[in-house]
């Protein structure tokens, strides 16, 4: 099957969150009859349950469209959908590497937003041709001409003939398809050169093993070929190659330079296929691997432990599988005296953490205990070296620390005017530095603050929601590091430090936080036969204390008329409760206690 490269377009759609990427993708799929209407389900590309529920795209998805253009010719359009949220920027970056062009969607009402820019710069970094599209022109507040000017002024792209569309109604979407052909370049490459294919994604299938998503830059690949992963050195016999239907894999005879598709090779070990790696032929290898991706650095860390210690290997397997197509997820084994074996995991942000945790629980049926999330602190030591601290337990002795830095974010909060005061109070409490307040339109304002990342990773979202009655939306971008007075807060239960509860905190809020932690723990630690002191300490100084009093009376009710069933149930409940406890010294701590300290701001 020889396909003329000039009839292929590999492109993606980039946009700020909520500007309509997935909807446009759906329309394009529909209009090219890739799916019959019956198969069409809103937002075909968001095929994870979680994505549909939250209305966000987490994973990149690819689909191949056949489009008959106005010149009467058939074109193959490989569309790669990308997530919009900043936490998933790395996904965008990976998709871009597989493309030659990008559609940039800008909301006709909101105009250019933070991530519009971020994504455009990413696309330009990858030398992609960018095709601007102005969406949501059907909204009453739409002002496409203003937005077109904005695109020209701010980004410097010609937006004069940018299609004015409504992805929702389908208005002018055909124009987008046409411009993809006319304005985006066809792929280059030589199909007779040695194979050079970039792995941009992969997923694990129970029958086929790892399914590798790749963009063929040079050469060709066929079933039966012996191929090698250049970074890992692993080699495999190709079993199947093919391209992406909507929501399905369609096998074909070969993939050649310029094409986007997948291959399988009975790959059992997820670690053998690294996203960003280059595939080549064993017999006729290419000289150099492709550049791959910029390594992404996690910003938020926390410990994940299986609630049932025996599930540790399951958790490891699950994390490995998730990491397979989520290069930004990092994890390494750690042990906690209190929680046993688990992993310290790094995430790009809170949403990422949330999504991973939820996928582990839903898709892998794991019951998790999470420790307080922390950010990456920079510890400058007196000997002139600097360490990046991801686990509070590794903080050097204070005498060795010259100073510490913490990451700051530029935060944007969109809120109805009634709650501006409440939101500003909240930001103030979280050590925010006021930047600006703009009224976007009647009754809606954009509040900008510089906030320390560690202040927003605990319960900021929840606090934001409750204080604005759900009327605030929040986004942030990492701004950089700033020197700060930070201390490590340790929690001692019955005089023993519980490592899993230690965390780094701003000195000025340490007391408040310590007090709340102790109160929460007191409510969640059952009474023992002896008094259990709960203390919070900075260094050797105790700054808060609560006591769980000793249990003195715990007597079963009357055994009435020989009916012992209730008595047995009571005893069983007591015993069952004990099973789920973690032992620290001679104190038993329920899992709920570890989780309770993650939400300190609620209902008090």
């Amino acid at each position: 099957m020889a396909v003329d490269r000039s009839h292929i377009r590999n492109f993606c759609i980039v946009a700020h969150i909520d500007h309509g990427k997935s909807t446009l993708a759906d329309r394009m799929i529909e209009m090219t009859n890739t799916l019959t209407e019956r198969e069409m389900q809103a937002q075909v590309l968001d095929n994870m349950d979680l994505e549909r529920e939250r209305g966000i795209t987490i994973k990149s998805q690819a689909v191949r469209l056949i489009y008959t253009a106005k010149d009467g010719q058939e074109y193959i359009l490989n569309l790669i959908d990308t997530p919009g949220h900043v936490d998933f920027n790395y996904e965008v970056s990976r998709s871009l590497a597989a493309c030659d062009g990008a559609i940039l969607i800008v909301d006709a009402a909101q105009g250019i937003e933070a991530q519009t820019l971020a994504n455009v710069y990413l696309a330009l970094d990858h030398d992609l041709e960018v095709l601007p599209v102005i969406n949501k022109v059907d909204l009453p507040s739409a002002d496409p001409e203003r937005v077109a000017t904005e695109i020209e002024d701010v980004i410097g792209l010609v937006a004069e003939d940018a299609p004015r569309i409504s992805a929702k109604t389908g208005l002018n979407v055909d124009e987008v398809l046409e411009q993809v052909i006319t304005r985006l370049p066809a792929p280059t490459g030589d199909e007779n050169a040695p194979l050079q294919a970039l792995i941009f994604d992969s997923l694990y299938d129970a029958y086929k093993g790892v399914i590798v998503f790749c963009r063929i830059k040079e050469g060709r690949i066929r079933p039966g070929d012996k191929v090698k992963m250049m970074a890992t050195g692993a080699s495999f016999d190709v079993v199947e190659v093919g391209y992406f239907g909507a929501g399905q894999f369609l096998p074909c005879d070969e993939l050649s330079a310029g094409m986007v598709g997948y291959m399988t090779a009975s790959i059992k070990n997820v670690r053998d296929t690294r996203v960003g790696d280059t595939i080549t032929q064993v017999a006729n290898p290419c000289a150099q691997p492709l550049p791959g991706y910029k390594k992404v650095n996690p910003m938020v860390y926390c410990g994940l432990y299986p609630a049932d210690g025996a599930k540790y290997p399951d958790l490891r397997d699950a994390l490995e599988k998730l990491q397979l197509n989520d290069a930004a997820l990092q994890f390494e084994p750690e042990t906690s005296v209190a929680l046993g074996f688990g992993f310290r995991c790094g995430f790009l942000g809170l949403l990422h953490l949330d999504v991973i945790q939820e996928r582990l629980e839903r898709e892998y049926d794991l019951d998790l205990v999470t420790t307080a999330p922390g950010v990456v602190y920079r510890v400058h030591k007196t000997d002139g070296t600097m360490i990046e601290l991801t686990n509070p337990s590794n903080l050097p002795d204070p005498s060795e620390i010259e100073y510490m830095e913490e990451p700051m974010v530029d935060a944007e909060i969109m809120v109805t005017s009634d709650y501006i005061g409440a939101i500003m109070d909240l930001c103030q409490e979280r050590r925010g530095e006021y930047v600006s307040l703009e009224y976007i339109e009647e009754g809606r304002a954009l509040v900008k603050y510089i906030l320390p990342l560690n202040e927003i990773i605990y319960d900021f979202f929840d606090a934001l929601k409750s204080r604005s009655r759900g009327y605030a939306s929040f986004d942030y971008e990492i701004r950089g590091y700033q020197q700060s007075k930070l201390v490590k807060l340790d929690i001692l239960i019955n005089k023993e430090t519980v490592d899993a509860l230690s965390f780094i905190v701003f000195e000025g809020t340490a007391y408040e936080r310590a007090r709340k932690m102790c109160e929460k723990l007191k409510d969640n630690i059952p009474r023992h036969l002896f008094e259990v002191p709960i203390q919070a300490a900075v260094g050797s100084k105790i700054i808060a204390r609560e006591t769980v009093r000793a249990m003195r009376k715990d007597v079963l009710a009357k055994c009435y008329g020989g009916d012992i069933s209730r008595k047995r149930k009571l005893l069983e409940k007591q015993k069952e409760g004990k099973k789920r406890m973690r032992q620290v010294g001679n104190v038993e701590i329920p899992q709920e206690a570890f989780m309770s300290v993650l939400k300190l701001d609620d209902d008090k």
Partner: protein, 432 residues
Amino acid sequence: MFSSLMMINNMQNTNVDPREIELYIHIPFCVKKCDYCDFLSGPYDEQIQKEYTMSLCQEIIWQSRRVFGRVTSVYIGGGTPSWLPVKLMEKIMDTLRAHFDLDPLAEVTIEANPGTVTGEAANIYRSIGINRISLGLQSAHDDELKLLGRIHTYDRFLRTYEILRQAGFENVNVDLMTGLPGQTPGKLIESIRRVSALRPEHISCYALIIEEGTPFYSRYRADDIRQKNGQPTMELPNEDQAYELMKRAQQEIISHGYEQYEISNYAKQGKVCRHNIGYWTRKTYVGMGIGAASLIAPECLVPKPEGEETGGMGLEYRISNTRYIYDYIDDASHLMAIDPQADAADVPIYDSVQRITRKGAMEEFMFLGLRQIRGVSREDFYQAFGKEIDSVYHNALEELKQEGLLEAREGRIYLTEQGLDLSNYALSKFLL
């Protein structure tokens, strides 16, 4: 008080004779439900009481054909059995005597509420073989009685007590409660002093428990949680006060010459409630009436289930009857048509039937037996299960010993005073 532990040797051996059984009769009627009560009872009219009695008699007859053994105790509980018209009570006892092998020395108890027993009734009770009365007094203070929603005053209790003594009852129990809202140690001690001055043979003293579904639950639930968490309470005593009330009551009752033989029960020498001891030592008992519970050893069934090892413990049936009075009356009318040897699953009045495993029997042996002050005997455990107790419970026993909640001496294992205070915690360790 624990030094006196071994002096309780006038009690029968706990070794259970499988040919001895106990009967429990449930009378689910009362004048008015008390505000803290979650037992199966309610005020029903006389017509229903009659119909129920007829059904009960049918069950008695049918059970007498199914379960065999010498009846060493009968307990008629409620509700307020003394509120049942005396004629009906006579009918029940006559039926029971006619069909079961009732030991002439059997302990036959009826629960009575002060104010529901006349002199005439007391004499009839005596004549039909009832020889023990359990009086639900709860408190000797009228304000506390009112708070509990009791129908009687302390004065009514005194008169009832006198009537019973005059009728010749020589074995009387009085129930008392600790931990009432607003109860002070002084008031509690006074209740106990007033009662013990009457020299009843037996005193039961329970801590108030706030049960779901009762008026007390809606009134004191929040306070109950505060009490359990050791926080300050509004009306109920706080945790320390509740504990103090419990301990003061214990000391006071003992100081009047009673011996504590179980967590909540005290008796003059030789006057322990044999029926209750049967529950704690896993004797076979047949519960009849709605919601009644039974424990039946296979040895007491004829024919014994085939191909099963007998002797020792385990494989008993734990059964509860239906809790619905109309279902019961309906089902009981078909009972006579059921083969007494039918599989328990096919008996219409049974609501749940469970076969105890060997493991389950061991657990019960421990968590029921250890409610008794004298605890359990190593020998009895060996006899029942053919295993040394330590081979099964070594860890639990050692842990509890270390925590000072349990002691082992002279072949017996028993909870310490602190162990009894924390019995819920201690006993849960015996679940395997």
